[in-house]
Amino acid sequence: MSLRNLIHFSTKRCRFASTLSVREALNMAMDEELARDKSVLLMGIEVGRYDGCYKVTKDLWKKHGDQQVIDTPITENGFAGVAIGAAFNGMRPICEFMTMNFSMQAIDQIINSAAKTYYMSAGRLNVPIVFRGPNGGTPGVSAQHSQDYSAWYAHCPGLKVLMPYDAEDAKGLLKAAVRDDNPVIFLESEVMYPKEFEVSDEVMSPDFVLPIGKAKIQKSGTDLTIVSYGKAMHTVMEAAKVLKENHNIDVEVVNLRSLRPLDFDTVAKSIRKTGHVISVEESWPVCGIGSEIAARCMEDEKVFGAMKKPMMRVTGCDVPMPYSMPLEAKALPVVDDVTDMVKKVLGKN
């Protein structure tokens, strides 16, 4: 053990043993699960020899071979169906979409064949499968390649829907998804792949798994609750810093992590503490996750009673994503949008 490590061991900082990018965390999760359970398969376009279109699956084919890591043709509806069929028959596929935009080609298989089969078969046939890939706004790729599917999939019973924010989320939630006996939608972000986070030794352990259906208080605070998830969390954490440093506003940030099941208990508890709530998401506003949170706030008398102001939403703009850079910049929420909304709700603008 080096002197540096000894020093780290002697302080509280030793919890943060490493930095890990979201990309590395996802890769580590799949690597560990492919090794742990030979019924786990990784299937998708360019996941093998190409090392993954975004290098998330780098070296996995070299380590686990043709049997477990399968390059598919460009045929989303078909390979999603093949993966689901394999899951019917005892395998546990991780089905990668190069981006979740292409999962729309396969959405019938995901909803009708994966999500509903356990119910239709009265519990006879479960479907342990993960559908994952980068999702949501991506700079410069315009409308068809820049869309957030969180609300689409969270709408459907039978699916579990996870959306990680940082490296800890990415690793722990993906491993949970692979070990889950149900279809899980796992929504990543290309923008977040290279972002590095400090993680504890616990996160680095092959046994690290996060629970599905539990939100995380990413930052505790007293003045207002911000409910967010996925890449929008990055904006929210920046905004929280600005609010604290420049405006002395101490927000509590709830990172939902799991959109279905949705951990409203954690959200409710936080709102009862702060008395104020906004949601922040990059999705379109109509029928979004924020809409769902707002509805639940009103349907829960205790929460509604605790709210000193109406809930407000910060969302993506209600348009397809434009290509032009200044237009694109206006289509997704930024730090100022969040800080402005927080100040408005608290009457401090």
């Binding site: 169906g81 689901i84 069929g85 019917f88 356990y118 046939l125």
Partner: protein, 415 residues
Amino acid sequence: MSIFGALKISLVERIWANMALFAKQLQTITAGGLRSQQVRMASNEVSFHTKPYKLHKLDNGPNTSVTLNRDDALSYYRQMQVIRRMESAAGNLYKEKKIRGFCHLYSGQEACAVGMKAAMVQGDAVITAYRCHGWTYLLGSTVTQVLAELTGRMAGNVHGKGGSMHMYTDSFYGGNGIVGAQQPLGAGVALAMKYREQKNVCVTLYGDGAANQGQLFEATNMAKLWDLPVLFVCENNGFGMGTPVERSSASVEYYTRGDYVPGIWVDGMDVLAVREATRWAKEYCDSGKGPLMLEMATYRYHGHSMSDPGTSYRTRDEIQEVRKTRDPITGFKDRIITASLATEEELKAIDKEVRKEVDEALKIATTDGVLPPEALYCDIYHNTPAQPVRGALIEDTIVQPYKTSADLLKAIGRA
């Protein structure tokens, strides 16, 4: 076996083949319409000839000379009759409004399922579309479980949670309601078989309508690319809903439409031809050569579903003509009686048993209870702690009282 023994057998086969040819020339077609010609073997086996198969990208194919023993004859007859009777009963239940929603009947197509099942072994699997009642029965469900599922009762295959299009057994992956979705699913079931190095196939069925789904192209491409042990079986009954094949398909030679996937056309009204083709196809798959595409030429007597009288796009005469000349059960019955594999009386006795079996099933299917309301909240997630499930009102939100139908049935003493 010695070389001499093998030679002797091949000589015997040739003699039988010649005799069969001779018999074919002598045969007069009876009113029931004999398709296969038969020759009595020394044992209790009889040799029959099937209609020639058509081959696509294959140098040789299934044997047109097939043998049948008495036990199998009686068993196939019985199975086909059960399906026919069961479907008639289902049709009546539908007309009495005891079956809701959709109901697609298999009458006329029985030889396809029975013939394929006869060639399957332990570990083989099947996936099909919504015309699934016959398959559910053949793969392990009782007539009661099928009919009670149609009426939505607890005794049903999935206790009334699936209905007509969603039934399952250990080797049967449904019962799929979305036309064509089962094609890649079947390839996936086969992928798991290959991964585990099983000598098994997944029989993946679709109709001539679903043959035009892009998913079939996607599935056959991957199946051939990875040599998956999957039999893509097109049950061509002549109509995709009400559209005859010529109006829906640029090529109606469905057995060739896998392109690089070799194919076989089979007389789907002849249970023995279907059995032999499936046996041959299974051997082909088992040897690791990958998928095959089979077209079973068949016919459905009823409309596409019960809401379709099935007479606006074809004539009643056409249906009657098929019933008279190509019916899979009548044809088979005539053949096995002529071949002395069974007597008319024996078959009548089977008919009587079958009628009794279906009548008893009907009784349960029309009187059994339905699942209690708590079942609404069952079977959402496997192996997951009880979840809160919202109802119509927020006050109706309930933490799953039972996670699965099995738990619920156990609790009410029905397991």
